[in-house]
């Protein structure tokens, strides 16, 4: 018994000294990196890192000084890891990567392929994988990270929070974390998309403190619609409706607004409460088809026309209109993917594979051709549950 205890103790002691990665670092020796941007210059990577200056962000300090809440460090090197280490020549502290909020990839690099830059982020032990990845649309990642933002002092946090909120309340955006992106890139019969970020306004003015001293900043960061990938390469962008359609098919909708035209002018806006989409693949006599089933519940949020919404028939009519609109959105999105980009961003191939693996083994080789001709059938059930706190709009009763 004693012997056994000693052996156990010994094993535990060995364990003490054989643990992998632990490293003692005080908080004030860390440069906490919240935003990372990657661009390509020639065949070198340009890494821009947004590091927070904790003293400037702390809640306790109400009177903010003239110092910027974040600092940017840049380095150019043939590999990202090298770039990180090169950074120590101008950063007083070692860049700490566990708390990245956003990873921004320049559009030109994305068009070349993002696969090579993601390896470091998935391999490094220090990184968490819960940050969002975005594409700097029409600009470089570096310039996106240079814009100072109001309200959220840290621009990287603002991007994270924007995407987090809007992916929950607004259909055209969708949030991608690193592991989700990688899994979509390696899954057969599926191609990824990513949300884009654009600079609105004057980028040069956005880099100074004056940008956040105005009511309306000279430059703001705005989320754009979705970027379509084929494999690791960006090949184009969806527009807003197509992005919406994409998210409906992918069951990414948590809540959004949807507009329906009234028959006699004006419009009615619906607030989507719940939406559930099922995508099923079927192969009937060698012919692959996709069935998309959507079930949506909504409330009436805004009425801007003369329509008696207390009449059940009107509700039926609105439900029909909304159903038709949903189908249109999805159709548009699928059509763009099929004809313009020929990239299976919806994972239809994956759905076919799941329903008929045997068929897939032969079809996968020429899936690109099959995808562009793929039959997609839609079935939408749309329910309007409530009309808000009033019945008919007062708009109808306004005199004159």
């Amino acid at each position: 018994m004693k012997r056994l205890a000693f052996i156990l103790l010994f094993v535990l002691l060995i364990a003490l000294f054989t643990t992998g990665c632990w490293n003692r670092r005080e908080l004030n020796t860390l440069a906490i990196q919240l935003g990372t941007g990657i661009d390509k210059i020639g065949d070198q990577y340009k890494l821009s890192v947004q590091v927070v200056d904790p003293g400037e962000v702390a809640a306790a300090k109400s009177s903010s000084t003239e110092r910027s809440p974040v600092v940017m460090y840049k380095a150019t090197a043939p590999s990202l890891f090298e770039a990180y280490r090169t950074m120590t020549v101008n950063s007083p502290r070692k860049i700490y990567g566990s708390h990245i909020r956003v990873l921004i990839i320049g559009e030109s690099l994305a068009r070349d392929g993002i696969d090579k830059v993601l390896d470091l982020f998935s391999r490094d032990a220090e990184n968490r994988t819960d940050y969002y990845i975005m594409i700097a649309r029409g600009t470089t990642a570096e310039s996106v990270l240079k814009i100072l933002t109001p309200l959220e002092k840290i621009p990287a946090n603002k991007l994270f929070a924007s995407l987090d909120t809007s992916s929950k309340a607004w259909a055209p955006t969708t949030a991608f974390t690193l592991d989700k992106l990688i899994s979509q890139m390696v899954t057969e019969g599926q191609h990824p998309v990513l949300t884009g970020v654009i600079i609105k306004g004057e980028p040069k003015l956005g880099e100074t403190q004056t940008n956040i001293k105005q009511i309306e900043p000279s430059a703001t960061l705005t989320l754009s619609d979705l970027a379509v990938f084929k494999g690791p390469r960006l090949i184009g962008w969806l527009n807003r409706d197509e992005s919406k359609g994409y998210n409906i098919i992918m069951d990414n909708i948590r809540s959004t607004a949807s507009n329906i035209a009234c028959p006699n002018g004006g419009s009615i806006t619906l607030e989507l409460l719940r939406s559930k989409t099922k995508v099923k693949g079927k192969v009937i006599s060698g012919e692959p088809t996709i069935h998309v089933q959507v079930k949506t519940e909504a409330n009436i949020a805004e009425v801007n026309c003369k329509l008696d919404i207390q009449d059940p028939m009107t509700i039926k009519y609105l439900e029909n209109q909304a159903m038709q609109k949903t189908i249109d959105l999805m159709k548009k999105s699928v059509k763009t993917a099929q004809t313009r980009y020929n990239s299976d961003i919806f994972g239809f191939g994956q759905a076919i594979y799941r329903s008929d693996p045997k068929y897939w083994s032969t079809a996968s080789k020429h899936w690109e051709d099959l995808f562009s001709q793929l039959q997609v059938k839609y079935k939408v059930e749309f329910f309007i549950r409530r009309t808000g706190t009033t019945g008919n709009s007062f708009v109808q009763d306004i005199k004159g």
Partner: protein, 494 residues
Amino acid sequence: MGSGSAQHRNHINLFREALGQSPDLIIREMKISNTVPAAILYMDGLVDVQSLHDFVIKPLMSVKFKDLNVVLPSKQNLLELLVEEVLGAGEMEISGNSEELIKHLLSGNAILLLEEKRDCIRIKVAGLEERNVTEPLTQSVVRGPMEAFTENSQTNIALIRRKIKDPNLWLESSSIGNVTQTKVSILYISSIASDKVLNEVRARLKKINIDGILESGYIEEFIQDKTYTPFPTVYNSERPDTIAAGLLEGRVAIVVDGTPFVLLVPGLFIHFFQSSEDYAQRSDISSLIRLMRYLAFCIALFAPSLYIAITTFHQEMLPTSLLINLASQREGVPFPAFIEALLMEVTYEILREAGVRMPRTVGQAVSIVGTLVIGQAAVQAGIISAVMVIIVSITAISSYVMPSGSMSISVRMLRFIFMGLAASFGIFGILIGIFGLIFHLCNLSSFGIPYMSPLAPFIAQDQKDTLFRLPWPRLLTRPLLVNKKNIKRQKQVK
């Protein structure tokens, strides 16, 4: 003085010399019935002068042999005669053993010497100035009895007897301490207490051979199972209700004269988390509060070490905004987190010790300096981060949540070990420490009962009063391991 024979004088001098001619030995000489020279010896201050006068001196002075049935009593049975017919006090004894008599003299007896007799009568007329029964100072409750033990073991035993009026509440007394002759009593309910534990207590007490016992802590260190452990294996309380509850569970109480702290064995880990109030309040709130005590135990033990580990090794575990907040507080702090924590914890311990030890009059000055220096100045000067002050405060407060002071002492000591482990190995180090702690705890026992029972070994039936306390109608049995003899607490009502 001068009556009586030389032999009588010698007899008196024997006592006087045994006590080194001490002036507080009072010798009152008299002649009983004008014929028999006698002397009453007592220690000044140890006897109640009033009762000595009323029940001993007065009857002796007024007795006339002719009033008694014997006209001229035979000198042989004069002592018996006095005991039987004259003296009015309660406890008395005829004895010729002068060593014994001196011991009795020193514990509040008066000794009556008669001429031409080797034997004397000792009469118990003890009357020591003593403290009243007051509210407990260390284990206060909101609901429950508000009385506490005093320094007098007789009073203490009486307080327990008042709660348990059962003939089976037995008492075994002995004196321990070659010089102090301290009265140590074992108290148990014979129909419930386990004989195994009882025999063990008797045997361990018998082994003690020391010059003096001044507090029950002496006894505790002699009779505990393992000497070198930070954890207490003997429970102590100054509350009669706590001790009575322990006796009803089948445990054994040890009352030591001269201290209000009564020992209770076996003392298991869970006992130190139980307060007598748990049983007075409703079971739901008692259970929640008991859970909170375990939580506070963990906070007191781990809070500083977890802070050190997370902020110096595992920054990725913190939410980003919290990390930035903590980092901003640490900007400019010149010490590593471990040194910072150590500084604060040691400062706190010093303040605490000073607070206990210092004269009441300077208390305010010390506490003002303490709060200002640690609470404010250190943070404002940028030497200590504000969050560290919060951590140290919550740790300090948590360690006083435990109803028993002994357990909070162990926590205070172990905390520093965990801080060291956290500073060198991070959370991994803390885990190693926890493993070691669990091994140690499971290895301990108190009077043969595993220290962690009923958690390890797990006794399902005893869970009713471990982490939770079920309502009284559900507490049907006494704790099983302590108790083999008489398990049923109540008859189940259907």
